[in-house]
């Protein structure tokens, strides 16, 4: 291979049918069969499907009933998110052995910036093959890798040769590489933008590259400028290390200073509901709870505790915070209160069963019901009524109990 200079070497790694491949790995009797991993029930959706099932037109995010119609012989397995997360951590660790700059997109997908490693590790294609082998040896799963000089082109490339493929777009070859592809492959080009481009008689990415940029900008504004650049393979966006979420919190700077445990409780109540809703929407539970108070003199106080079992409803979070409030000296004027959920765990991790009904068990059910209503009718479509110690302001600024 000729010695090429890579201004940047960006890898996009995509695990092949990740969830389904793990299920097959752990139960080899599923090999070669159409397999769907996804939620059961009337409203479940497909999380992923094996390549055998994809041949029947089953794709991610398709409603389960439709998937079953297209492929009635498919075997359906419920997702085991904590297992997938564990495998994902292992895979990401391997990526980090290759480069410190790894940007995970999801459990099964990541960008790796390998720029400047040629002298150390050799040509990018060889590195990609080695990475595939290391991943396979560690977790017995295959992945497909796209190698290019940018995020955009590497992502397109990883999808060209699935499964277990390596696709390299050498520096300078971007425009030719992209030219034959339909323009819908560009992320962010939805039906609306595609329609506008088709109206200009543009069908492929190459058509966009050949089209006068000024006209595109005139028609589509900033989007036009972005498309013109991408169509030539120009995408300067950097790969950014992203840290995984370790806590989920909310805080509020008060319009007027408060003091005392009761007022702190009142200020925390709406924050706690937001945190609890956030936890549930991300499928997490909190193993720890932290209270944060900033006094008028800017002295910061934090107190933390671990509830007996991980929690995700506001009443249980509040019970924990209340214990912290009881222990804290809150007599001085306070300008900010906050709370955060820490030690986050997947909600489908094994949960310690309860011998006695937790005092907050009813509330847990209630909040799940509220979530369902909000999901259907939108945020704030339903709210709790006022609770003891929970004032809200009525018309004309009057306090309403």
């Amino acid at each position: 291979m000729s010695e090429q200079k890579w201004p940047r070497a960006i890898f996009h790694v995509d695990m092949d049918a990740f969830f389904a491949a793990i299920e097959v790995r752990d139960d080899p009797s599923l090999a070669g069969l159409p397999l769907i991993v996804g939620g059961g029930g009337a409203r479940g959706v497909v999380a992923t499907s094996s390549y055998e099932a994809r041949k029947f037109g089953v794709f991610s995010a398709m409603p389960m009933f439709q998937a079953r119609k297209r492929c009635p012989q498919a075997i359906v397995r419920p997702p085991r998110m904590s297992v997938y997360a564990g495998v994902s951590r292992r895979v990401m660790q391997i990526f980090e052995d290759y480069s410190p700059v790894v940007e995970p997109v999801s459990l099964d997908e990541a960008w790796i910036d390998m720029s400047g490693t040629e002298s150390l590790l050799g040509a990018p294609e060889g590195i990609a093959r080695r990475l595939q082998r290391d991943v396979f040896e560690a977790v017995r799963l295959t992945c497909s890798i796209g190698v290019a000089t940018s995020r955009f082109v590497s992502k397109i490339a990883s999808d060209m040769n699935k499964p277990n493929g390596v696709t390299v777009c050498p520096p300078g070859g971007e425009a030719a590489f992209l030219a034959p592809l339909p323009l819908e492959r560009i992320a962010g080009v939805g039906p609306g933008a595609a329609g506008a481009l088709h109206a200009l008689n543009l069908k492929t990415i190459g058509d966009i590259a050949a089209y006068p940029e000024e006209v595109l900008v005139a028609r589509l504004g900033d989007q036009g400028r972005r498309l013109a650049g991408l169509s030539r393979g120009e995408d300067p966006r950097p790969i950014v290390r992203s840290r995984t979420r370790r806590s989920l919190g909310a805080e509020t700077t008060l319009s007027a200073n408060i003091s005392g445990a009761d007022e702190v409780r009142r200020a925390l109540r709406p924050l706690v509901e937001d945190i609890a809703r956030g936890l549930r929407s991300k499928g997490l539970r909190a193993g720890g709870v932290t209270l944060k108070v900033k006094f008028a003199d800017f002295k910061l106080m934090t107190r933390a505790m671990k509830p007996a079992a991980p929690v995700d409803d506001s009443a249980a979070l509040f019970v924990a915070l209340d214990a912290l409030i009881g222990r804290a000296d809150l007599r001085h004027p306070i300008r900010l209160v906050g709370a955060s959920a820490t030690d986050l765990r997947a909600a489908d991790e094994p949960v310690q069963g309860s011998l006695l009904a937790a005092p907050t068990a009813k509330n847990e059910k209630l909040e799940r019901a509220l979530d369902a209503v909000e999901q259907r009718f939108g945020r704030d479509s339903i709210r709790r009524g006022p609770q003891p110690g929970y004032r809200r302001t009525g018309p004309g600024g009057a306090d309403v109990e």
Binding site: G287, M305, A308, A309, E349, G353, L355
Partner: protein, 377 residues
């Protein structure tokens, strides 16, 4: 005040106060020991954190009766390091106290003894005797499952309650597991205090202090109630423990009915050892280990997506249907480590119901039962 006594006696008695003196609280005097000498030749040492109070009495040579109070920790640190066999404590002006022993001279800053909280008197308490080892077994079998969750204060102590005629029980639960033991009590014709009909909740700290300070060589302790305190006396020491205000949950209804034919008999030491081994592969956050009972076999297994999986089979006397459940292995070990007997009986009802662990070969007349709630997987 001026007294002289054996260094070893003073050291031993001061040790009993150390768990109670409060080093971080807002009342500085609670870091102190109150020292009282009577003209009858009796030395009383006293410390309290307002929830637990300890009073010990011992003989000494009283040259001049009186009271002083100094920091208990400092005094103990000095006394336990003295080489001299005898030690003299003497009150000086301005609440200072002078300690002399052999070649040592120490002067402690003291405080006004009148500021020390009122010392409770045990004079009117109706005491009931209980063998010391029995009382210790009751604490040992319940203290580990007391809740540490301040959100549920009524679970942060063990319920001490009358259990039928001439029996007393101790029960604790943290909502995930429950431990109970009942034992005969020889009231020598005296009535058990009526408060014990409904029971009182003794906080963990009080039980821990009792376990730490009770003289195990003494054959007997005695207990009683005074106001909202449990009073325990052993030898020369009296401890007042303020009981927790609240109702202990009604636990009878969560205990599944035990059936002999469901029990699996396993060698206790083997089970402890093998659960520890398999737990190397349990998830570090959930501590989940699975136990499966099938004919003549108890299978222990664990798996973790980051580590792998591990399984071991242990012999069991069992011939009922196959049943399995997952547990926080530490909860199971807590029980197995505290009970006696070569064998233990496990009773798994099903994957989600409370699991019973029976102590076999209990001491005379004692009955204990442990419940561990499985994890939902």
């Amino acid at each position: 005040m001026k007294i002289t006594l054996d260094t070893s006696t003073l050291s031993r008695e001061l040790f009993k106060l150390q768990g109670v003196v409060n080093s971080k609280g807002t009342m500085p005097i609670l870091q102190n020991a109150l020292i009282e000498a009577s003209d009858s030749g009796e030395l009383t040492l006293h410390a309290t954190d307002l929830d637990v109070s300890v009073t010990t009495t011992s003989e000494c040579e009283v040259s001049q009766p009186g009271r002083i109070t100094v920091r208990a920790r400092d005094l103990y640190d000095v006394v336990k390091n003295l080489k001299g066999e005898r030690v003299t404590l003497e009150k000086e002006d301005n609440q200072w106290m002078r300690l002399t022993s052999d070649t040592v001279r120490v002067r402690f800053v003291g405080m006004n003894p009148d500021e020390f909280p009122q010392v409770q008197r045990a004079d009117e308490v109706q005491f009931v005797p209980l063998p010391t080892d029995r009382f210790m077994r009751m604490i040992d079998r319940t203290i580990f499952s007391i809740s540490t969750d301040e959100g549920r204060p009524n679970l942060t102590g063990a319920l001490f309650k009358k259990a039928g005629a001439d029996r007393i029980s101790m029960v604790s639960t943290d909502g995930h597991r429950l431990s109970m033991i009942s034992a005969p009590v020889d009231a020598e014709g005296k009535q058990l205090p009526s408060e014990l009909e409904d029971g009182v909740i003794i906080p963990r700290k009080g039980l821990a202090e009792l376990r730490r300070t009770v003289d195990l060589t003494a054959p007997e302790i005695s207990f009683g109630l005074r106001g909202n305190n449990v009073v325990v006396r052993h030898e020369n020491t009296t401890m007042f423990v303020r009981v927790i205000d609240g109702n202990f949950p009604n636990f009878d209804q969560v205990i599944p009915e035990s059936k002999k034919e469901r029990m699996a008999y396993v060698d206790r030491a083997t089970l402890i050892d093998r659960i520890k081994f398999v737990s190397l592969f349990s998830n570090t956050k959930t501590h989940n280990v699975r136990i499966e009972l099938e004919e003549a076999t108890c299978t222990i297994s664990a798996q973790d997506p980051d580590k792998g999986e591990c399984e071991e089979k242990v012999q069991a006397a069992y011939d009922s249907e196959t049943v399995q459940a997952g547990y926080n292995y530490r909860y199971v070990l807590d029980v197995l480590n505290v009970i006696g007997g070569e064998q233990v009986a496990l009773e798994l009802v099903d994957t989600l119901s409370p699991t019973l662990i029976h102590e076999l070969d209990s001491e005379e007349g004692e009955r204990s039962l442990f419940i561990v709630m499985p994890m939902r997987i």
